[in-house]
Amino acid sequence: MARDPKAEAALAVHRFGFGPRLGSIAAIASDPRGALIAELDRPGAGRISDPDLLTSGEAARGAFNFRQERKARRLAERAQREAAKNAPPPTPERQAAMAAPPAEPRMEAKAGEVAPSKPNALPGFPQQVYLEEAKARIDAALGADPGFAERLVWFWSNHFCVSADKGPVRALAGAYEREAIRAHVLGRFADMLVAVESHPAMLIYLDNARSIGPDSIAGRNQHRGLNENLAREILELHTLGVRTVYSQADVTSFAKVITGWSIVPPRQDPERGGEFTFNPRMHEPGAQAVIGRTYPDGGIEQGRAVLADLARHPATARHVAGKLARAFVADAPPPALVDRLAKRFLDTDGNLKELARTLVSAPEAWAAPRSKLKAPATWFVAALRAIGITPPDIRPVIQAQNMLGEPLWRPPAPKGFSDDSAAWMDGISERVDVANQLAGRVAALVDPEAAIDTALGPLASAETRQTITRAASRPQALALLLMAPEFQRS
């Protein structure tokens, strides 16, 4: 389809970036593809450099200490209850006397409209870390131009998702994304794979930290054993893809291979607690056959060797190529595009920068109609960018993501959030309310007609322009803009 350069630029920012900010479309109109590729070449692309953010080890140890303190508090409370229970049964008078003191000041506080600060008024340490990491992530997405590298980070982070809802992962999810995903987002798939599968957040999320080889020293002593969860998801979700070339026997063997990929227990080591370790006492001894190849036992190297082979397997190339094309281009991506991406993946030994470059250089990636619905968080970031605000408080952004069904770092399952826009169609109804509230807050800052040019430019249809310009109020106009099909779709 022949387009004028500005339309191509607007498409570039909506499809491959985070949506236009003021001036974004004009800035890249001379060479939209070149601008996307140039962003990948910028030093530090896809990284966040913020010295205040904690490493996953620091976060894990902080969370451990936090839990210890909370536990100590609970035990003290229980001891108090036990003491009360063992005391002689109170007379009615004493009972009344006991009930009165706690009740009175509380009631008073209510009447006086003064909320005294309570120890649990602040979020706990894991939640504080989660919020700080969330802010860093959203700020990066708001500040990127056009945002292709950040979109790639979000894609790979979802591909290799962990869930903050699983125990100690809450404090680790942000560090995980920075350490395992961002560090390799324009590097090699094989390196990202090793970084992901050896990251404490993943080892906790998919239960490998406690998986023990049945014939390992620990296995023989403790009568505990293998957990196949991580091994299965690596094969099914992270690399080869479901129903491809592996069997249950491969899953079991691979699970044995990665026994010992675990975490330094925080209570044993205050210096390195919470960090990755290979624990040979948990590792299943002996050679293992995985997908037609036998891997001699070499401790941690056995697992690295399997991951290296998985990373360059043709099934992995097809799986990754299909997902990438689905996420960025179309729910049913053009087969020629998938072929092109899979071939490039294999030819470059999984060079992810080359893969991204191939994506935006492929004619199929531009020819596809704008039929994909943006995922909720991607749309919400695009809305903030179009309006030109950076929220000072991250919590409303988190709440919006929750409400829109894409809670940050909290996917419903290891498969991550859907790359298929059909999954998000029902949520349009919630988006209207989110758009409405956002517009109600910021509309005073925005001229609706200028906002159309910023956000859509030549993509805006005559109907959309007319609907927005005829709106009953500025807030309504802005809400309609954010809900316009051209803004919802990519």
Binding site: R74, E77, R81, E82, A84, K85, P89, P90, Q95, A99, P102, A103, R106, M107, A109, K110, A115, P116, K118, Q399, M403, G405, P412, A422, A423, M425, D426, G427, I428, S429, V432, D433, V434, A435, N436, Q437, S461, E463, T464, T467, A471, A472, Q476, A479, L480, M483, A484, P485, Q488, R489
Partner: protein, 416 residues
């Protein structure tokens, strides 16, 4: 007959949102014993098909009764075995897990004293605890609270979280002070904005128009002020795998449990979930009811999770106004019936069993030739829990909480 389409009242909207209504005090006697019990009642409005939730797979007449809609142990989607006779709908693995852990009890062939088939009257009696509908404006849970000696007041400083609800459901209405909480929701867009947007979508993006129009069909609900939409009665849930229903059951139940788990949180509360009126395409396996049961299952799991250590002292009762016809009707669904199940879950239960004086499902055994015959008085179950868990006195249970219920003696042995 099916419920008529009508403009939902404010009261129904609050229930549809999964709002928590909770007593503002702590139960004193139980606490003096060193216990700190939690009690949550979930009302399923619309009448749950008890036979589709918990099937009598050991009954020789069962497979014939429901035909290819019968849950079976050896079906394509096998039911989850409970004991030698009953099996649970496969959409409820979490409840099954709790059952096996001794933390769930199922009471079957249970009913309130209501023997007609009107939703409104049936809900009225379920919530009022009286022997005829429309006789009072207080609920049994509130009267049970009033019979308890109050300890300290809960949540005195959490005004943002708890506002006194202007309209509370009957089950918790009465003299005992009650607080309400609804999930935080953003204020919805106005009808005018929706109309303009729908008009734009119709001209430029028909798939988006369809989604929006579905919402506008329920616009009355959205208008009522920051309330999430419930699945519409009599219609299948929104397209997709039912993720929204599931998410909102779990969110509401989990949030309720979070409140109740807090040291200064409420101890007794009530929630309600709509959408159980399965006249057409019931879908007990893999369909609409399975989706709802799965969502309920997720809600129970969310309660367990959010209660944390307090789960040990928790009992959740799941009740519904009546059951449904024993046989499948002409539209692959079931119509209003009589006896059904009550589901109990919680760490404080002596669970892991199905309590039933099983009436059988032979034609001759059915109530009025069509419904599962009630053999257990639901009030006896509720009284058993109120007595042994919250320590509501016997005399109050028989006269004030459930008036004229002396014959329905509190069921013993439910609580560990």
């Amino acid at each position: 007959m099916a419920m008529n389409v009508h403009a939902p009242s404010r009261r129904e909207l609050l229930l549809a949102s999964g709002a928590l209504f909770a007593w503002a005090y702590l139960p004193k006697v139980a606490r003096a014993e060193g216990r700190d019990p939690r009690f949550l009642t979930i009302v399923l409005r619309g009448a749950l098909d008890g036979l589709a939730a918990v099937a009598p797979v050991g009954d020789p007449d069962w497979a014939r009764l429901r035909g290819d809609k019968a849950l079976l142990l050896d079906g394509a989607n096998p039911a989850l075995k409970l004991d030698g006779f009953f099996a649970l709908n496969p959409a409820m693995p979490e409840l099954h897990r709790l059952y096996r852990a001794g933390q769930a009890t199922i009471v079957h062939a249970a009913a309130t004293p209501y023997r007609e088939r009107s939703h409104f009257d049936g809900q009225d009696m379920l919530e009022s605890g009286l022997t005829k509908p429309g006789a009072t404006d207080t609920g049994w849970l509130n009267r049970a609270l009033a019979a308890l000696e109050p300890g300290g007041r809960v949540e005195p400083n959490k005004r943002q979280a708890f506002a006194v609800g202007p309209v509370t459901p009957l089950i918790v209405r009465g003299a005992a002070p009650v607080m309400s909480w609804t999930p935080a929701r953003l204020p919805p867009a106005t009808d005018d904005t929706l109309m303009r947007l729908a008009d734009l979508y119709r001209h430029t993006d028909p798939p988006l128009a369809r989604v929006l129009e579905e919402r506008m069909g329920l616009a009355a609900i959205a208008k009522a002020g920051g309330v999430a939409m419930a699945p519409e009665k009599g219609k299948p849930p929104p397209q997709g795998p039912g993720a929204q229903v599931r998410a909102y059951f779990a969110e509401a139940a989990g949030a309720a449990a979070k409140f109740m788990a807090r040291p200064d949180g409420p101890r007794v509360g009530a929630l309600a979930f709509d959408g159980w009126d399965t006249h057409q395409d019931e879908g007990a396996v893999g369909g609409r009811l399975a989706l709802l049961l799965g969502a309920l299952d997720g809600a129970l799991a969310a309660i367990e999770k959010e209660m944390g250590p307090a789960w040990r002292e928790t009992i959740v009762t799941v009740v519904t106004e009546f059951g449904r016809t024993a046989r499948i009707n002409g539209t692959e669904g079931t119509d209003h019936g009589t006896a059904t199940v009550a589901l109990l879950a919680g760490g404080a239960l002596k669970g892991g069993r199905v309590v039933a004086d099983w009436p059988g499902v032979k034609d001759a055994s059915l109530y009025e030739g069509r419904d599962l015959k009630p053999t257990t008085d639901l009030r006896a179950v509720l009284k058993g829990v109120l007595k042994d868990h919250l320590r509501v006195p016997d005399a109050a249970l028989a006269t004030k909480v459930f008036p004229d219920s002396v014959a329905a003696r509190p069921m013993a042995g439910l609580v560990a």
